[in-house]
Amino acid sequence: MGAENPALHEQVHTLYSDHHRWLLGWLRTRVSCSHQAADLAQDTFVRLLGAHQTGNPLPSIREPRGFLTTIANRVLVDWIRRRSIEQAYLDALALQPEPCAVSPEERELIIEALTAIDRLLDTLGERPRQIFLMAQVDGLSYVEIGRRLGVSVTTVRKHFIRAMASCLQQLDD
């Protein structure tokens, strides 16, 4: 796919050679670990290459560094999300009464799934989010959810469908 857009590749290549080192320095002031900063810089450029999927070439950039830091910020926000999930997962594991063995591969899959779910639920309000999780995770019936939250079954159903539709809309085929 990417090779179909030589102009974009050329543009990203120029950005990379002119500003990669600078971006790395910028990221290092935001994350403590330099390996992490290197990964984040890499992800920033990979995301630029993904731009062809939107069908838009990059704009003629007057301030390439401002542009790069905006993209890098998005990458950072995603990274913060993932790290917060990872930490919360490890904390939850530590609280388990029985130590459970999770292989590194399994752990990676679990953290990825948790991160994806967290992102999908981001746009929902507090109430729909709660209803969706009670149904989807706890497996409660609409009647039971309605009883616990003191709302009608119709409201529960409506919020559940909306939350579900919102998740489906954000997923890729």
Binding site: G66, L76, S84, V137, T155, A163, A165, S166, C167, D173
Partner: protein, 330 residues
């Protein structure tokens, strides 16, 4: 690359994604079947629905994908983990740095070109593309050609930030108490249970109210609010709002993929059409004042232009597929 080779609303996509209505139908099926008895006849009806159209299967594949993610996550720990992760993020120093950075960047205004690029937006349409978007509260947003927006929903408000282009917002008739805003670089529009259009042009935002009313607050006009009722439109810059004018014509026809005009000059028509046309669309000064009325389909600007040549004394000259000019017949 072919130009307007079909009526596809999603240029570049190999296989069209299921539309909003199909995804909503899939969500409803899921909601129903999770409480249906194993021997319920509804399962058979659901299978028929799946067979009706490939997009139904595609939508259902997303349901399965979502369930897959929930199965991978440890169900007993899932909710405490999400809760804890959210609260750590709220306190995160890095996040604070990012927010500060973005704030300074906007005030500095130095990298406008980058900031306004659709790549940075949550949702965007290419030239000639139109799309609809169902928000988490059930409100429906239509994006016209060349539009980019961000969605900011939180506990206190529902907000859409329109970076460029044009949207129609139909807020959901719901019990949601959070206020609904559309913001632009020029200011803020508050929806009062309503359907309305917001369009950005240069350093102006134009609001057209189709149902109920909105309040307009230009960003720099302290406390100055203009109430705009159904059937009226107004423009605002960052410090003032023009007096409301009655709506003329059918400004929301693009939602149905149409451009409906009554006694427009050809110059205005070509200008409006060029928003939907991939490439350069221009006209000769000699035809600028020709008058035009009618309803036109936007899905192919090329077909539309050819059609024009049949009704007006003009010819369409194509230097390349991207560079098109409307000229006098002789």
């Amino acid at each position: 690359m072919a130009v307007s080779d079909s009526s596809s609303e999603h240029p570049g996509a190999n296989l069209a994604s299921p539309d909003t209505a199909t995804l909503e139908a899939a969500a409803e099926w899921y909601a129903e079947l999770r409480e249906a008895a194993p021997d319920s006849p509804r399962h058979g009806v659901h299978r028929d629905w799946l067979d009706q159209h490939p997009s139904h299967r595609q939508a259902w594949a997303r349901v399965e994908k979502l369930n897959q993610q929930f199965q991978t996550a440890p169900s007993g720990m899932l909710q405490p983990i999400l809760k804890r992760a959210r609260s750590t993020r709220r306190r995160s120093v890095e996040l604070l740095l990012i927010l500060l950075m973005v704030g300074v960047g906007i005030l500095g205004g130095g990298w406008q070109a980058g900031l306004h690029h659709p790549l940075m937006a949550d949702h965007a349409t290419a030239t000639g593309e139109r799309r609809q978007l169902r928000l988490a509260d059930g409100s429906l947003v239509h994006l016209n050609t060349g539009t980019a927006l961000d969605v900011h929903f939180d506990d206190k408000q529902r907000r859409i930030h329109l970076r460029q282009g044009e949207i129609q917002v139909a807020t959901a008739a719901s019990d949601d108490k959070r206020p609904f805003f559309v913001t632009t670089a020029e200011g803020r529009v508050r929806a009062l249970g309503t359907r309305f259009l917001v369009r950005r042009q240069g350093d102006q935002s134009r609001v057209t109210v189709l149902e109920h009313a909105v309040d307009i607050h230009p960003a720099q006009a302290q406390g100055a609010v203009t109430r705009l009722d159904a059937g009226y439109q107004a423009q605002f810059s960052d410090n003032q709002t023009t007096p409301p004018q009655p709506v003329t014509g059918r400004p929301a026809a693009w939602v149905q993929g149409q451009l409906i005009v009554s006694d427009w000059s050809l110059a205005r028509f070509v200008e409006e059409l060029s928003r939907h046309h991939k490439g350069v669309l221009s006209h000769d000064a000699d035809v600028a004042d020709l008058r035009i009325s009618g309803a036109f389909h936007l899905h192919s600007t090329d077909a539309l232009l050819d059609n024009l040549a049949g009704t007006l004394p003009v010819r369409i000259r194509r230097f390349t597929p991207y560079w098109v000019r409307v000229e006098p017949l002789e």
